[in-house]
Subunit: 522 residues, 2 copies
C-alpha cells in the first residue's frame, strides 16, 4: 500500500476522454474516506488524455478512494496510508487560530515573514532557480506571486509561457474589452498597453500550470507558503476581460490543481480596486464560488490598492492589506484585528529600494521598523525590494537576488518572535508611546483607571521605534523579578541587563530601533 | 510732543492711591483717541503708588488720551504722535489672515518657527541672558514660556522670584486644594509635590512681573513673538488652586501689563487637560473674560496634552496643538485647517533629544521632517530640545544653549518659505505620497476625476520626506516652462536643475528629506 505523510499530496493519475475540450467538457472527482475524514475533491485535466486527482489527508491511517465523473465510464478505486508528519518542515496548513492569529495545523507557531516576487514564475528558468536559491537562504516563510503574467513599469517582457493556448479570443467578453479600454486607470506617464487577445481562454496551457506545480512544491520543501494571486490588473493578454464562464473554469482548475498543497494560500486578486472589469458583486461571486470548491479551506483573501475590501466577508479568512495611508498603517494592526476579528497580514507596506514611485523607495531601517510595529501588535507583514537595476531585474517582480539590508533583520525578528512563549504576541499596554507585545497568555489583570499606570505581564517586548532615549525607567512590581534584555533590532544583538524588580533604570545606547524584553524570572 | 512708532508701546505713569491692596481695590483706565482708532485699556499697579497705562497705537498720527479711574481723584490728559513703523523688525502684530493663515499686521509674511523654553524667565539672570544670546543667533521667531514657575521632572529648583508676595494662603480655594490632592495625574515614578501655599494670591510680586516686561521687550527687539503661557499643571506653589477672584485678578493684571506689546500671544494654559482643578466651564469663562479685556485681540489659544480643546470657540484665534498620536500628527495639518478654519500651530511635536520620556527623544532629522510636513501644508510648528545635561539645564525648560542639529535646518526652512511668493504656502495635490506646498495664489484649475492626474501651479514645493527615490518624473505641461531646483532639507543646499517642460526626469541623490521646487519660468 502506498504511504504518504499526513498533509502531503496523494495523487491519482487516470486516463479518460480526450475529445472536444476536456478542460471544459468533463468532470472528474475523487472521494476519499479515512479516519474521521471524508472528502470529495475535483480533479483536473493534465493533457494527453491524463486526468489527475490530488488529495491532502489531514489524519493518520488508512484512506480508501474512488475516482469518478463524466471523464470516463469507469470508476477507479484504491487505498493508501497516511503516516505521521515527521518529515522536513511538515506542520500542516497555516490556519486561523484564536480568532485573529495564525499558526500551523500541528500547533507550531507561525509568524508570517512574507515577501513579494509577483512575476518570478514568468521569468526565464535560470532566474527562477536563482530566486529559489535566494529564498533558501532568506528569512521568508511566505511569498506572494501571480498565476497570470504581469505587464507594468519595469515589466515589459513577455512571460516564458502564457496561461492559455493560442487561439482567436474564444471565451472573452466583448463588453469588458470595451470597458477596460474606456476606464482603465493609468498612472502619470503610463502608456495604455497594446492588447494581445489571441488566446483560447478555456484551454489552459499545461506547461504554464505544470511549472507552477513545480514551484509550489519547491516552496513547500523550503517551508515557504505560496500566496497565489489569481487575478491582477497588470494585463495586456486579455486575462482581465475573460467572460464569466472562462473565469469560473480558471478558478475551478486552479483549485483542483493546487488545492492539495498544504502551503497554498489564495489571493483572489491583487489591487482588486484597480481592476475596472470586475465589480464588488463579481468579487463576491468569485470568492464564494472559489472557496466553496476548496474543501481544505485554505487561507483566502483579496488585496487592495487604495481602498480596503470588506474583510468581514465570509469567504475571506484574513485581511491581506496594502497600506492606504502614507504615515500610519501597520500601526493600526491591533485596531484592525479588534474591529475585523481576523488575522491582519500587511502584504504591502511599500518596498525597500530607490524607485521613483511612492511605494518603492523605503530605507531598510523603515522597512524593518514596519515589521516590528506589526509583529508586536500580533500582525504579520510582507517585505518587497525595489532597487533599480541595469537589467531591470527587481526582486519585487522578477525575483533573482536580494540587494537590500532588511532581510537579515527580518530573520532576526523571526528568531525573537520564535523565542516567545506561546504561539503569538499580542498588543499590550505601554507608557510613553512604545509598542508593547505580550505573549499570548498574559496574566489578565484589570487595567487601571489611571491612563499612566501599567501592569506587567510575564513576557513583554517594548519596541521604541524611531525614538532614542538614553535610558528607560520601569516601575516593576516589588514582588516579582524580571530578566531584562536590550535588543538592538538593527544591529541584531541581544544584551542581557540582569534580573530586576521595583524601580529599574535600563540604560540604552541612544540609538533608534531599540527594544527591551522583560521575562519573568523563573 | 512725544513720538513713538506705530505698534510700539506708549506708556503713561501716574501716581495714585497706595492704601489697602491697590492690585485689587482700585481701577485705572486709559482712553486713547487717534486717527480711526479709539480705545479704552486697563492700566495696572506697579508699586510705590505708581500706576501705569500702556497703549499700542495701530495708526499713524496724533493721539490724545485720558487716564481715569478709582485709583485717583484726578484725570490725566495728554497727547503723542504715532509715526510710521520704520524701525527694526516692526511689522505690527501677527494676525490671522485669509481665515487660517498668519501674517504680520503690515502684510509681511509670518512663518512661525517657534521654540519652547517653559521656565527660562524663572532661571538665574545669567542663564536668562545666555538664552537671549542663543535666541539672537537662532531661527526662532516665537517662543513659548510660562508666567508661573514650573515644578516637574528636571525642574526641582525654586524659581528666582515667585509671582506673588509671601502670605498665608490668601485667595486660595480650599475645595480645589483637596481636589488637586485627590485627583492629581502622576506619571509613573513621579512623587506628588510638597505644596508651598504661603503666598498672598492677590498681591503680585512686582519684581517677577517687571522681569517679564524686560524679557518681552527684549524678545520684541529680536523679532520674536512671546507666546505667554498663563496657567499650567506643573505646580507646587498653589497657583493651580487659586480661587476665582484671584484668577480673574491675575488675568486682568497680565492683560493690562503686557497687552500693549505687539509681540505678545496668549496661551491660556499649557496641557489644560492635565489640570484637574479647572473644568471646561472654567476655561470657557476665563478665555472669554480674558479676551474681552484685550482690545488688541492678540492671538490667543489653549494647549492640550492628550485631548484637543474645542478650537472652534470664539475666544480662540488659532489651534495651539500638541500631537495626540505618535505616528500621525503634523500630517493632519491641512485637514485640521479645513475642519477648524483657523491657523494650525503645532506647539509640541516632541523634542529633539534623548530623555527617557516618549516626548523627549526625537532625532534632529525627524524634528526637521515634522517642520517641513507642517509648513508645506500651510501650518506652523514649534521646536524644543531635551538633551540630558549634567547640570539638568535643558533648553525645553531652562533655556541656555542649544546642542541640537535641528535649529540651523529650521533657519534654512524659514529661508525657503520666505522665498515663496505671497504670504504663505498651502497644500497642493501631489502624486505618490509627497507633500506639495503651493503658493497662496495658485492657478485654480478644476481638479480632474482621475485620482492620478495632477495640474501644475506656478509655484510648487514637493517634499519627499522619508522616501529616497533615485529620480522623480514630472509630466509638466508642454506649453509652460519651469525652473526646477532640488532642495536637500538636511544638507541645506539648493541645486538648480535647469528649465523644463513636458515629461521631465529629475535625478535625486537617493537620500531622505529631499524636496523639489518648481517655479514657472518668467
Amino acid at each position: 500500500m502506498r504511504k504518504i505523510e499526513k498533509w502531503d499530496v496523494f495523487e491519482v493519475a487516470v486516463q479518460g476522454k480526450a475529445e472536444g475540450n476536456p478542460f471544459r467538457d468533463y468532470e472528474i472527482h475523487g472521494t476519499f474516506e479515512g479516519p474521521e475524514e471524508c472528502m470529495t475533491v475535483d480533479g483536473f485535466y493534465d493533457g494527453d488524455g491524463t486526468y489527475r486527482v490530488r488529495f491532502m489527508p489531514s489524519r493518520e491511517g488508512i484512506y480508501t478512494y474512488r475516482i469518478w465523473g463524466s471523464f470516463s465510464g469507469e470508476v477507479t478505486k484504491g487505498s493508501f496510508e497516511a503516516t505521521p508528519a515527521v518529515g522536513h518542515k511538515n506542520h500542516g496548513r497555516v490556519q486561523v487560530t484564536d480568532g485573529c492569529h495564525l499558526s500551523y495545523e500541528d500547533g507550531t507557531s507561525y509568524y508570517s515573514i512574507g515577501t513579494t516576487c509577483y512575476a518570478w514564475v514568468h521569468q526565464d528558468m535560470a532566474l527562477q532557480e536563482q530566486t529559489l536559491e535566494t529564498l533558501a537562504e532568506g528569512p521568508f516563510n511566505k511569498i506572494r506571486f501571480c498565476m497570470f503574467p504581469k505587464f507594468y513599469e519595469f515589466n515589459r517582457k513577455e512571460p516564458i509561457t502564457y496561461p492559455y493556448e493560442r487561439g482567436t479570443g474564444e471565451g472573452l467578453d466583448q463588453s469588458l474589452i470595451e470597458k477596460e479600454e474606456r476606464e482603465r486607470i493609468l498612472f502619470p506617464g503610463m502608456q495604455p498597453p497594446v492588447p494581445d487577445l489571441n488566446f483560447h481562454y478555456q484551454k489552459p496551457n499545461l506547461e504554464h500550470f505544470q511549472r507552477f506545480d513545480l514551484r509550489i512544491r519547491q516552496l513547500r520543501d523550503l517551508g515557504i507558503e505560496a500566496d497565489l494571486i489569481l487575478m491582477h490588473p497588470y494585463d495586456r493578454w486579455g486575462l482581465n476581460v475573460m467572460n464569466r464562464e472562462s473565469c469560473d473554469l480558471y478558478l475551478k482548475y486552479v483549485n483542483a490543481r493546487f488545492g492539495a498543497y498544504r502551503n497554498v494560500w489564495w489571493s483572489l486578486a491583487n489591487e482588486y480596486d484597480l481592476m475596472v472589469t470586475k465589480t464588488e458583486g463579481d468579487w463576491e461571486r468569485y470568492g464564494a464560488f472559489f472557496m466553496e470548491k476548496d474543501p481544505y479551506r485554505h487561507l483566502c483573501s483579496i488585496h487592495n490598492c487604495m481602498k480596503f475590501y470588506d474583510y468581514k466577508r465570509e469567504w475571506i479568512s484574513h485581511c491581506s492589506l496594502q497600506r492606504v495611508d502614507f504615515y500610519r498603517h501597520v500601526e493600526y494592526t491591533d485596531e484592525y484585528m479588534e474591529t475585523l476579528q481576523k488575522p491582519v497580514v500587511w502584504d504591502e507596506i511599500c518596498y525597500e529600494g530607490n524607485l521613483p514611485f511612492g511605494w518603492g523607495n523605503l530605507t531598510p531601517e523603515e522597512m524593518v521598523r514596519r515589521f516590528w510595529e506589526t509583529f508586536l501588535r500580533g500582525g504579520h507583514a510582507g517585505h518587497g525590494e525595489t532597487y533599480l537595476d541595469e537589467e531591470d531585474l527587481i526582486w519585487w517582480s522578477h525575483g533573482g537576488i536580494l540587494k537590500g539590508e532588511s532581510p537579515k533583520r527580518l530573520a532576526f525578528l523571526l528568531k525573537i518572535c520564535q523565542e516567545t512563549p506561546g504561539r503569538y504576541l499580542k498588543k499590550g499596554k505601554g507608557i510613553f508611546d512604545e509598542v508593547v507585545g505580550i505573549s499570548e497568555n498574559p496574566e489578565e489583570e484589570p487595567e487601571s483607571d489611571n491612563p499612566f499606570e501599567i501592569r506587567f505581564h510575564d513576557y513583554e517586548i517594548h519596541y521604541l521605534g524611531i525614538t532614542r532615549p538614553t535610558y528607560r525607567m520601569f516601575y516593576l512590581p516589588e514582588d516579582r523579578e524580571y530578566e531584562i534584555d536590550v535588543i538592538d533590532t538593527w544591529a541584531m544583538t541581544v544584551t542581557p541587563m540582569g534580573v530586576h524588580k521595583g524601580a529599574t533604570r535600563i540604560d540604552l545606547p541612544e540609538k533608534q530601533y531599540m527594544a527591551i524584553r522583560l521575562r519573568k524570572a523563573t
